[in-house]
């Protein structure tokens, strides 16, 4: 049964006023509103497309704000600088200026580039992240689809990005790109497993892979202190798993201290060394989309999805994924990059072991309680 009404259970949870989850998914609602649902399969498809278009643009708009503007502002705050402030209020119009600047640059393609792969890589990187948002419940009924294997799906599509990275690295015919591509693959393989295994410990709690269900399950009260009931967000129920997942996620999206695939001071820019203009924009967007997708997964399976007091669900959801983005920038300001061999070692010898330990412990504890 897709999308149990969370609003009903929310009456007993912490934030009773706001319905967390709607039964109706976004495509159906759009179908209803526009009357497209009367046109059979074609209408349904069109409604789905419209919904996907909306969500895709929402995410792209967020990366648009994050990349040229927020990243600069946040980094500047950490490093005692001012950053963009000339164009528009707080320099916000720099987004437009940057977009025009980047898109109007010459697209330089290396002579020996492996053409189809070289051209496809940026699209693969950017689109794989966008695909992931399809199953993320963002609150206020903004939820494209809620398949029963939602969590597995989201890990699967975000994993496609490594393919894009290795394509970019190999097809650029540049040694730095090659090194970066290889590093990216080694890193993604090493951290994908702890990521998924830690995700599984959540599944043990929730008893389902369906994203909507996982969010609903977190609305249950965890403890009640002085009349305020705290919801059983899995970050609170199992903080250890949360930290593991956070670390694995930073490695998965290649952020500090695990930004070895780009490693600007070592291998210039890694897999994206030879990309310019539109292709660069796509890769750059893709990176930010991946950070936000990582944030969305964390928000969904650990932070109660769109749940939160007073504000509408979608606002809470956006706040949560921006918090994760903010954390990546914070780490970037203060934490050194680990070396590639140390990174692999941490992944295989550290995180993997801890992830399995966490999984087994969770299973035992949940089994005992049940």
């Amino acid at each position: 049964m897709p999308g149990q009404i969370a609003g009903a259970t929310a009456g007993t949870a912490a934030f009773p006023a706001v319905p967390l989850q709607e039964t109706v998914l976004l495509p159906e609602r759009i179908g209803e509103l526009t009357g497209l649902d009367g046109f059979g399969l074609g209408g349904e498809l069109l409604a789905t497309f419209l919904a996907a278009f909306l969500i895709g643009n929402l995410m792209l708009a967020m990366t648009g704000v994050a990349g040229p503007w927020a990243k600069r502002k946040i980094t500047a705050a950490f490093t005692d600088r001012i950053a963009v402030n000339r164009l528009g209020p707080a320099g916000l119009f720099i987004i437009i200026a940057d977009a025009v600047r980047l898109l109007s640059k010459e697209l330089v393609v290396p002579e020996n580039a492996d053409r189809p792969a070289y051209d496809l890589a940026p699209i693969v990187v950017a689109s794989s992240a966008l695909l992931g948002f399809a199953v993320i419940p963002m609150g206020n009924g903004i939820h494209l689809a809620d398949p029963e294997v939602g969590l597995a799906y989201v890990f699967a599509v975000s994993g496609i990005a490594s393919l894009g990275l290795v394509m970019a690295g190999y097809a650029s015919a540049n040694k730095y790109s090659l090194l970066g591509g290889l590093r990216a693959v080694a890193q993604n393989v090493a951290y994908e497993i702890p990521l998924v295994v830690t995700g599984m410990s959540v599944v043990i709690f929730a008893g389902t892979l369906q994203m909507g269900e996982i969010v609903s399950a977190q609305a249950e009260p965890f403890v009640t202190i002085a009349g305020i009931s705290i919801p059983s967000w899995y970050a609170l129920v199992n903080p250890f798993a949360f930290v593991l997942f956070l670390v694995a996620n930073f490695a998965e999206v290649g952020r500090n201290p695990f930004d070895t695939p780009e490693a600007p001071t070592e291998i210039v820019a890694g897999y994206q060394t030879e990309y310019s203009s539109v292709y660069f924009v796509l890769i750059y967007l893709g990176e930010f989309l991946h950070i936000f997708l990582g944030g969305a997964i964390i928000a969904t399976i650990f932070l109660g999805g769109p749940a939160g007091p007073v504000l509408p669900g979608i606002v809470w959801f956006i706040i949560k994924i921006w918090a994760v983005f903010f954390a990546t920038q914070w780490l970037r300001s203060a934490v050194p990059r680990v070396r590639i061999d140390q990174l692999i070692e941490i992944g295989w010898k550290g995180l993997l072991v801890l992830a399995f330990a966490n999984l087994i412990l969770t299973a035992v504890i949940v089994g005992l309680i049940a």
Partner: protein
């Protein structure tokens, strides 16, 4: 782990206190020390055309043209080539050439940086500061000349 958290706390402290060390140029002009050395200013009234500045200049930035009575005709200074060592000011016996604090000068081509004496005269003071007071060199060393060989040109 403690160290990493300490690092992160340190940067967060900076983010929260909101102070910045960069300034918004040109709205906030940087402070320039009174001794700062910028573009030259030339005074033809003072100049006695002794050519000491031309001779002391380490990289031939100054070019002086005189007529056969040793009266000055041209005084050219390539401020794009100048290394701002201030030796010309230091050797000048009459303070005819000195370096203002003016550092904001532009030109479209390198050639535009060859200033003739009219342009050099027109160089403005930076914020009306006459730098000579702050830079008062110990001219005793020059005037005294020492015991060795003296080379007056």
């Amino acid at each position: 782990m403690i160290g990493i958290l300490k690092s992160m706390a340190t940067t967060m402290k900076h983010a929260l206190d909101g102070s910045t060390f960069t300034v918004e140029y040109p709205e906030t002009a940087p402070d320039v020390s009174p001794r700062f050395r910028g573009v030259h200013k030339f005074s033809q009234e003072r100049c006695i055309w002794c050519r000491q500045c031309e001779n002391v200049c380490p990289n031939d930035t100054i070019q002086i043209v005189t007529n056969d009575q040793r009266q000055g005709e041209q005084y050219n200074l390539h401020i794009g080539q100048c290394i701002y060592c201030r030796l010309c000011e230091e050797v000048c016996p009459v303070d005819a050439i000195l370096l203002t604090e003016n550092f904001e000068f532009t030109a479209d081509t390198k050639h535009d940086f060859v200033y003739n004496k009219e342009q050099l005269k027109a160089v403005p003071w930076y914020k009306d500061i006459d730098p000579l007071a702050a830079r008062e060199p110990d001219r005793g060393a020059w005037v005294g000349e020492g015991d060795g060989e003296v080379d007056y040109q």
